[in-house]
Symmetry: C2
Subunit: 105 residues, 2 copies
DNA sequence: TCAGTATATAAATGTATATTTATATATCTA
DNA sequence: TAGATATATAAATATACATTTATATACTGA
């Protein structure tokens, strides 16, 4: 993995970060992270409107963060890559530490 | 590091991801990642207007991604934590792989 | 204290995007 | 094929945010 910005695709980074920068999309990602779930299941679990869920799923699909699979009338979504969780975990840890360091002065 | 969303602070994640979801802010982060730099240096290197740089630096400071230090008339900004680069590196790598997997069918 | 430089802030503008509401499409079953 | 359910899309609205322009504040040296 490179950490040299010359080798990083800024547009890709921005695109992915934007997709992760919404609380409802994060909730959806976590919701489908252990197993694939139908839209209606996600709607029920997250208590958000069906069009809103569909809209966010479309964004997540466009950014390739989830995969889609139709089975009969149901459409199942699932996290596309485990690393997404690990990256979010690291970002969360960083945020914690930054806040901790901050309140100490 | 936890990858269990129950232990993650969604608000913090959203806040940090938003801050990373702008190309100019990413360029600033990389610009100050090796050494602290004054605002005018950043302006010159990135070829953006001074008020725009100041605005983004304010956001980066609010999100604790950079630290600030004044010295005389100059204000120096620097990346606050090396892990920011490593997280961006991993996100970049993920994006690459997702795209690769995508074009293969 | 005044002039010049460095940086920050405010106001104005344009654009992107989250959400809601309404409707369309797709699939299954009777 | 008609009706019911599952999902997607479109239009409308509201809000957030990036950028520009103009101006204010902070510091330094004469």
């Amino acid at each position: 993995m490179v950490e040299n910005f010359n080798e990083m695709n800024l547009q890709t980074l921005v695109y992915l970060a934007k997709c992760l920068a919404d609380e409802n999309r994060l909730r959806i990602l976590f919701c489908v992270s252990k197993e694939k779930k139908s839209v209606s299941t996600i709607v029920e679990e997250l208590q958000l409107s069906q069009p809103l869920i569909s809209h966010h799923l479309k964004e997540l699909k466009r950014s390739l963060l989830v995969t889609v699979e139709r089975s009969g009338p149901f459409v199942y979504y699932e996290l596309s890559d485990e690393r997404i969780l690990s990256i979010l975990g690291k970002l969360n840890e960083l945020g914690d530490d930054l806040l901790k360091a901050r309140v100490s002065f």
